[in-house]
């Protein structure tokens, strides 16, 4: 118990120690300042813009910025869909895997373009190496870069003084890949190979086990994809069971590196924000709010899991190690709980243990992380602009309470911004509650539910929370491969991504045009503990209460049943 606490503290310290300088570096990159890598990458960057047709010459109005992002994502979706449907005709398919069905390819392409990386298929049984590399790895990079670009543009909107533009999408996206994602991925991939993650184009290997049985060992170019899946908060695994697979995450060191990479860029965005606003306290305040929510979530997940499954109490089982169903021995309950909290907080969605078998209270905390809109650090870029949405709503509510026009960092928050924020916010309840309700009443859709009783509802809620929140982790017993779900969840992913991005860019455009007013005695300070607490409360009330009735019937009911000794 004490040693697990020490693991968590050291993890947090390492994370902040790495994210702080990274935030500064990223701020320099996006503001076009010189960095260590500029001499190497600037010529490459110029060459790319030249090939792409002078798209990088001028800053864009928010509408044009949004159009660029949408056009780029649409092209990416079409290309990926084509690869998945044609993989049997493409190279690097040593296992001779068949093409994906249309509905599954739609779902998978949407999933990777929206940075969700929900996997309704098993990697080693469904995808060729070509699909994994050219298809998925590319989208791992550029969907992450899209999120980072949008976040930077939104931050520019807050920082600008009566400006018409919020930056250039093509530049922000390209720089995200070249200066941030690629160098960090290469480092991570090589360390992972050293630790035992395969990186080969060779076919699966037949082995004869010590007892004489045949075992076919799946492998492939895994390390390169795993590095970016963590760094870009994508989460799509190379193998079916993601980072609980011993070849995807072989050692405790590979596990630590991956779980640091999950939160590295999301945390760095807090510090980038402080630098771009030229007021580091603002970034630290948002970091504090996210950090506190994270710590509480981790305490609930770990506390519930280390306590074990109450239904084993009457069995001759020693549960000192916690609830190990669905967990790997080498990670134990401590590193499994830490990962589960980080991956759901960060909209990453990779797993190193099976969330479906978590105790109900822990499952509840994971669900809430996604349902509050993935703003506890959140996806790369996406988490930060998501949290700025809650900031807008918080200053609005604070303004209502004291009867002043709300403002944030000198910018007046007016009806237009608040309306847009609420519009973006509504994508979560629509995707989770409306779509989830459909999945719960349509008889053919219900076939996907594996477990009877309240846990079945939790499975539905988890699937639609994960899709709408662009998380991608699953209660994997849920049979999400049914065409009903591949289609509806595909739509939920699109909703959770673009019904959020477009209003946020509109807010950025509206704010960019405003002139900041100097702070006065009546200004509500947004860098102190009062603001941090208020922000947390708004996240919990708006995000949490919306879903409370559904949660009461799912994980809460299951927890009560478990404690009462009831099985289903």
């Amino acid at each position: 118990m004490a040693i697990d606490l020490l693991q968590f503290l050291l993890y947090a310290a390492a994370l902040v120690a790495l994210a702080w300088p990274l935030g500064g570096y990223m701020a320099r990159v996006f503001q076009g300042e010189r960095t260590l890598l500029t001499p190497v990458l600037a010529p490459l960057e110029r060459g790319i813009y030249a090939l792409a047709g002078r798209c990088a010459t001028q800053d864009q109005h928010w509408t044009r910025y949004a159009l660029s992002a949408l056009a780029f994502n649409l092209a990416g979706w079409l290309f990926l869909y084509a690869i998945l449907r044609l993989q049997h005709l493409l190279p690097w398919n040593p296992q001779g895997l068949a093409p994906m069905s249309p509905d599954l390819a739609f779902n998978t392409a949407v999933s990777f373009v929206t940075n969700t990386n929900w996997q309704a298929y098993g990697g080693e049984t469904a995808l060729s190496y070509f699909s994994q590399m050219v298809g998925l790895t590319t989208q791992n990079f550029v969907s992450a870069a899209t999120g980072m670009a949008v976040a930077v543009a939104v931050i520019r909107g807050f920082a600008a003084r009566s400006a018409k533009t919020i930056g250039n999408f093509w530049v922000d996206m390209t720089r995200s890949v070249l200066y941030v994602l690629l160098p960090l991925s290469i480092i991570c991939a090589l360390v992972l190979i050293w630790q035992g993650v395969p990186q080969t184009l060779g076919a699966y290997v037949p082995a004869t086990t010590l007892e004489g049985a045949q075992q076919l060992i799946a492998r492939g170019p895994a390390a390169s994809q795993i590095a970016i899946k963590q760094l870009g908060t994508n989460g799509g695994g190379f193998f079916n069971v993601n980072s609980s697979h011993p070849l995807e995450n072989p050692t405790v060191l590979s596990n630590l590196l991956q779980v640091v990479y999950i939160l590295l860029i999301p945390v760095a965005f807090c510090f980038l924000f402080g630098r771009m606003m030229k007021d580091r306290r603002q970034g630290v305040a948002i970091f504090a709010a996210m950090g506190l929510l994270f710590a509480v979530g981790l305490a609930v997940v770990y506390g519930s899991e280390i306590h074990g499954n109450a239904l084993y109490d009457t069995l001759p089982v020693d549960q000192a190690a916690g609830n190990l169903e669905g967990k790997e021995t080498r990670f134990g309950t401590g590193l499994s709980a830490l990962w589960a909290e980080a991956t759901t907080a960060a909209s990453n969605g990779s797993v190193n243990s099976m969330h479906d078998s978590y105790t109900p209270l822990a499952g509840l905390a994971l669900l809430l992380n996604m349902q509050v809109g993935e703003v506890v650090f959140g996806g790369v870029g996406a988490g930060f602009y998501g949290m700025l949405l809650f900031v807008v709503l918080t200053v609005f509510l604070a303004g209502l309470m004291v009867g002043r026009t709300p403002e944030y960092l000198g910018k007046k928050i007016e009806a237009r911004e608040v309306k847009l924020a609420v519009l973006a916010f509504l994508s979560m309840p629509v995707g989770i509650l409306v779509f989830g309700a459909l999945a719960a009443v349509v008889p053919s859709a219900l076939a996907a539910v594996q477990d009877p009783g309240p846990h079945g509802l939790s499975e539905i809620l988890y699937a639609y929370s994960s899709a709408t929140g662009n998380n991608g982790s699953a209660f994997a017993g849920y049979g999400a491969g049914l065409p009903f779900h591949t289609t509806l969840q595909g739509i939920a992913m699109l909703l959770g991504r673009y019904a959020f991005i477009v209003p946020m860019l509109a807010i950025a455009g509206a704010l960019a045009a405003k002139t900041p007013a100097p702070a006065s005695a009546g200004t509500f300070p947004t860098h102190g503990p009062l603001f941090v607490v208020l922000l947390i409360i708004v996240v919990l009330i708006l995000g949490g209460l919306t879903f409370f009735p559904a949660l009461a019937l799912g994980p809460i009911a299951e927890q009560v049943a478990m404690l009462a000794g009831q099985t289903f």
Binding site: A75, T137, T138, V142, I193, P316, L324, E325, T329, H455
Partner: protein, 202 residues
């Protein structure tokens, strides 16, 4: 939208070449050069045959081998998976109870370590806890005709301790332990399944 189409397609093509081809292929090249064994999945060969991967668990049911954890996919390394059963699933509780009672009866243990009666997430967990290995020493010692004290030393030698004494849980690599056993005291072919404890799991 149309004016954005050219840069969209051009940048997608460039990024596909850069991140979808150059990056994984360069990583493959460097990885193969620096860490050839790991890059090929850490395969273990014995007498010219591949017997497994150092990181991938395999099924052990005979008394002369240490047994791994239950697996939802029967250690199929080409299709990983867990049970994903709910904590309140009757199927889960019944199965875990059955395994625990059987192992308790065979070993005389009052309580069985939880890892030995639950399925891992991957279905390919190469490890068990040291306690779960100790519990099996008597059976393996009888089957191999080795002293228990020596087996205990072998178990400890194959135990990966937490990183820096802090991170992760102590874990015994079952395949490596069993390979070391075969090296130390080869079993004559033919004596399978006769001892108690055979097919204990699953």
């Amino acid at each position: 939208m149309l004016s954005q189409l050219r840069p969209a397609i051009a940048l997608l093509a460039i990024m596909s070449l850069l991140t979808g081809l150059a990056y994984p292929l360069a990583t493959t090249g460097i990885g193969q050069a620096l860490f050839p064994r790991q890059a090929e999945a850490s395969l273990i060969t014995r007498d010219g045959t591949v017997v497994g991967s150092a990181f991938v668990g395999q099924a052990f049911t005979r008394p002369e081998y240490f047994h791994g954890r239950p697996s939802a996919v029967d250690y199929n390394a080409a299709s990983s998976g867990g049970t994903n059963l709910a904590p309140t699933s009757r199927e889960l509780i019944d199965t875990v109870g059955e395994r625990a009672r059987q192992i308790a009866a065979e070993t005389g243990a009052g309580r069985v370590p939880v890892d030995l009666v639950t399925s891992s997430g991957s279905g390919l967990d190469p490890h068990i806890s040291p306690e779960s290995a100790y519990l099996q020493i008597r059976r393996v010692a009888e089957a191999r005709g080795l002293p228990a004290a020596e087996l205990r030393q072998m178990v400890d030698a194959q135990t990966d301790m937490p990183l820096f004494g802090i991170f992760g849980a102590p874990a015994v690599n079952v395949l490596k332990l069993n390979l070391a056993l075969d090296e130390r005291a080869p079993v004559k072919a033919g004596i399978t399944g006769s001892m108690h404890g055979a097919n204990a799991e699953r």
